[in-house]
Amino acid sequence: MNSRVAGGAPNGSGIGLRSPHVDEIGSTRPDVGWLEVHAENYMGGGPGIRALERIRRDHPVSIHGVGLSLGSAEGLDDRHLERLAALVERLEPALVSEHLSWSVTGGAYLNHLLPLPYTLEPLALVSRHVDRVQQRLGRQVLIENPSSYLRFTDSPIPGSDFLIALARRTGCGLLFDVNNVYVSCRNLGGDAAAYLDAVDPAAVGEIHLAGHAVNEADGHTVLIDDHGSRVTQAVWDLYGHALTRFGPVPTLIEWDTDVPALAVLLEEAARAAAMLRIAEREGGDVHAA
């Protein structure tokens, strides 16, 4: 599951690079395929970005943006796009990704991947924004499906169709977050496997896996995509289904709250890597252990 070509294509499974692990990864150079960072954590100077530049010599890096707000009706923040472009130029990442969501309105950044209604207006808007981002960066970006806790009354296009249309219009790839599909389908009713089957395998350039919390609200069970625990068995099962359909797509373990010891993330990444190897060897059905 290892590839040691900085800037090369990511290979196998990777983990999100989180600040408590930076020193350990720099000194132990763990056997992990690649690392992903949030773009917005590295837009200043100082020791953070320098440590990342050192780590990048040992591991391919993927840049995952959370702040472009591709679905904002008021347009893209040009200054932020320029900062992202400068970071991409500096790190030459293997992959660049962002989200199908919005966070900015009236000049306020709400620090959440907020939902879009799936109608033609947002489809045209997000397509224009993805075009601009890809043009500015001079490369393809991957767009991630969000997790949802509500459905808009006027949202006639299924989420999978919206993403497929976006990929067709812009040539962007898809970052398929298996946990997000699972969480959304459990929260809103929907068939996760059918969602997955609707996606064009050729468009999928990366997979995300993460844990979620199970909460009770007013007598209803709500799954919260908090990236704060191990991947659940149901999501591993859905991941097996995804690999059967998509083939061995580079897969990332995300963990953002209550970040555990690095060894736990590496265990999760090893589990994904074992399934990826089956997908690569057999090119057929992959089942979670």
């Binding site: 200043g44 100077g45 100082g46 702040g67 309105t105 306020a108 950044y109 207006e121």
Partner: protein
């Protein structure tokens, strides 16, 4: 039917504690109610931004008690949401907010402690810049202070308060009447540090920052202290690696 812009504006109100009616009207009610669904998003917005502020202002958190800080931060976030997505750049307005915030106004030193923590945060994320080597001063060139450097004056001993509020500090009490400080906060290689300056050194640095000129800075220092030791002021700046060439405009 509302436009996307109207929908997003309504969402902002719902997230930041304003009228949630416009957002709620656009959301389907099935099973779990609309308000509870919007509350999931609101909870994330407010708690994630509060967590970001806690990371930037850990000493303020300890000084006021973590629960009080979360209460104040919640109010701050609603009034002053971030204007950009880099959370390390969020919180510049918190010191002024704390100065106005009625429940903590009796802690007169608190805003300046917050200013110290903000300056340390700025220092950590500031761009890199190569320090001027001593021999380069033989040639006149426009100078600047390191981009990580902040000059901060306070009527309170905020550096002592900061040290006494570190987790490893003992139970020593701080004498709030010990007098004010002139501080220089900056990043030296990878470490954020601060130290006291004399009033003359503070004037020297401030004039240098404004004019880029050593002669003008010397005049400013001498106007505060006619016997100021100018060579040592320059030596200290060089030793702190805090002097850089002014970047081309």
């Amino acid at each position: 039917m509302s436009t996307l812009r109207e929908l997003q504006s309504g969402f902002r109100a719902a997230m930041l504690g304003g009228d949630a009616g416009a957002a709620a009207a656009a959301v389907q009610s099935d099973g779990l109610g609309v308000d509870a669904r919007l509350a999931i998003y609101r909870h994330h917005v407010l708690t994630s931004l509060t967590t970001a502020l806690e990371a930037t202002f850990p000493v303020v958190v300890r000084l006021v008690d973590p629960r009080f800080f979360r209460y104040a931060a919640d109010r701050f976030v609603r009034e002053h949401p971030p204007t950009g997505p880099c959370l390390s750049e969020y919180g510049a307005a918190l010191p002024d907010f704390l100065a106005r915030f009625e429940p903590s106004r009796h802690l007169a030193y608190l805003p300046d402690v917050a200013r110290l923590e903000w300056a340390m945060n700025v220092a950590l994320h500031a761009p890199d810049a190569a320090p001027v080597p001593p021999e380069a001063l033989r040639e006149p060139a426009p100078l600047a202070l390191h981009p990580s450097l902040t000059l901060l004056q306070s009527p309170w001993p905020i550096d002592t308060i900061w040290h006494a509020s570190q987790p490893e500090a003992g139970d020593d009490t701080v004498d709030l009447d010990a007098g004010g400080v002139h501080l220089q906060i900056w990043r030296s290689t990878d470490d954020v540090v601060f130290r006291r300056l004399s009033a003359a050194a503070f004037a020297f640095h401030r004039a240098l920052a404004h004019t880029a000129c050593l002669d003008a800075a010397a005049q400013a220092a001498l106007s505060i202290a006619p016997d100021a030791d100018l060579p040592s002021l320059i030596r200290d700046l060089l030793a702190d690696q805090a002097l850089v060439h002014r970047p081309a405009p």
